[in-house]
């Protein structure tokens, strides 16, 4: 039996974080020091789009095992990084890159005032 990974307190913390911040990035490492190529790519794509991550909320899942597993259940998404914009789950690096290349990311960010 798979243990329930997402406690109520973590769920409410995550609800609060994604609702109260325009952009939230769950990643391995920090924007200054990403510790995985996928997280680095996500930081770089957002950087190219002019998103200043120092002004947004980022979580380093490597510092918190409960968060690392809990966020996967919260988002129903199996991998890190994960991006939320205005409370809405956008996706991981594959989706960000695809949206970046198609121009959809720029459009989304500007429509959300970011």
């Amino acid at each position: 039996v798979r243990a329930r990974l997402l406690s109520n307190s973590l769920r409410s913390k995550l609800d609060k974080a994604v609702k109260n911040n325009d952009l939230v990035l769950f990643m391995k490492g920090t924007p200054d020091q990403p510790l995985c190529g996928f997280s680095r790519a996500a930081v770089q794509i957002l950087g190219v789009q002019g998103v200043d991550l120092t002004k947004h909320k980022t979580f380093n899942v490597l510092e918190d095992d409960e968060l690392r597993e809990g966020i996967k259940e919260y988002s129903s998404w199996p991998t890190i990084p994960q991006v939320y914009i205005k409370g809405e789950f956008i996706g991981g690096t594959d989706i960000l890159l695809n949206m970046h290349q198609s121009g959809d990311l720029e459009e989304l960010l500007s429509s959300k005032g970011l």
């Binding site: 129903s76 998404w77 199996p78 991998t79 996706g91 991981g92 594959d94 989706i95 949206m99």
Partner: protein, 89 residues
């Protein structure tokens, strides 16, 4: 199911569970666990957004993805795939 997810297993699973008509797997395992980059062409992606397509793949490959260190996917409909390949020629 064995603990190691092989390319053969992944290809077979994608063809069966997603009715994929074309699958390409690039093994990027760099010494820190298996890492796969997968191209999937399936008519099941028709009419679905990128997020919905990825969620479908994630759902169908739940057990495998949990065992793989890194999993990267590109999902195309047969129409998108054939027009991409024509552009390259």
């Amino acid at each position: 199911m064995s603990e190691i997810v092989t390319q053969e297993h992944l290809t077979a699973a994608l063809k069966e569970r997603l009715q994929a008509e074309h699958v390409e797997i690039i093994d990027n395992s760099g010494g820190c666990g298996s890492a796969y980059e997968v191209i999937i062409v399936s008519s099941l992606f028709e009419g679905k957004s990128l997020l919905e397509r990825h969620r479908l793949v994630n759902e169908k490959l739940k057990d495998e993805i949990a065992k793989i260190h890194a999993f990267s996917q590109k999902s195309y409909t047969p129409t998108q795939w054939s027009s991409m390949n024509q552009t390259q020629k």
